[in-house]
Amino acid sequence: MNDKAVHQHAEGHAHAILRWSDDSAHDIDETARYPLMTEAIRQILVEKGLISADAVRRLIEQMDARSDVTGGTIVARAWVDAAFKERLLANAKEAIAELGISEVDAAHLIVVENTETVHNVVVCTLCSCYPRMVLGMPPEWYKSKAYRSRVVREPRAVLKEFGTELADTVTVRVHDSNADMRYLVLPMRPLGTEGWSEDALAHLVTRDCMVGVTVPRVPAKAHAVE
């Protein structure tokens, strides 16, 4: 239940973040030295009237409001519009601006396409770089040391644990997102979705599909309706 307590117990002391060689705080510890310093500075700036508490709250709200709905919208458009897809793969920032998405971060977004012969999966081994502007906040497992260390070394075993088994004829391409680029996986459009509306397609595309640990599937119920 309490990540911090578990972390401290496992590490044997409460200040692992102070050890230069230990970046375990990237995983779970949000109440260590630096977060507390940040909070203290925030309070002082508010008390001095340099920023307002509401402005900070509003920015946090905006950041938290970002979600994988944006990514799903981008993918669905690429599925129904081949010319858009080409533009998206060539220059993601300019292409998604067409959809009214103009986050500054998108300057460094790279979209990678899954095909019959290539499956892409994204990780950040050094910390937890993630395309937040199109997917929102990363899930806990994406930040875990287990995922970060294993998916680069044994991606097929990790994908299998996510329920994704790939044929040996498919090239698994891991993207270690460790510097200034951010990656979004463009999954393959599932069979059985011919004639679907863009909106219905967008709902098939989940966060995990766009990180690359799974692929979009048509629900059995939808099959029945079809």
């Binding site: 991606p155 040996d168 510097a179």
Partner: protein
Amino acid sequence: MSPAAVSPRRFAPGDRVTVAHTHPPGHRRIPYYIRGKSGLVERYCGAFPNPEELAYGFDGLPARHLYRVRFQQTDIWPAYTGPAHDTLDLEVYEHWLRPAEEDAS
């Protein structure tokens, strides 16, 4: 957006490169597992302030060229059990890259 780097690019897509096999202390933006490994430049990403200096409060200038390099998994992990065509793409700053040695496989 990207600040100009002072030096011309040393590498182009398709070039075979080797990541420096050194272990200097401090904040280094290159995973240990890829040091000393060779791959092909996949694309040029632009020039960015050096994160290894930004980490210590400097401006990171001049900006450094950043490349995406594609490695064969079997070149990275001797015990890799997947197919030989599996790959790993990684961003590498130019100062970590060397032209691949002739005998590099």
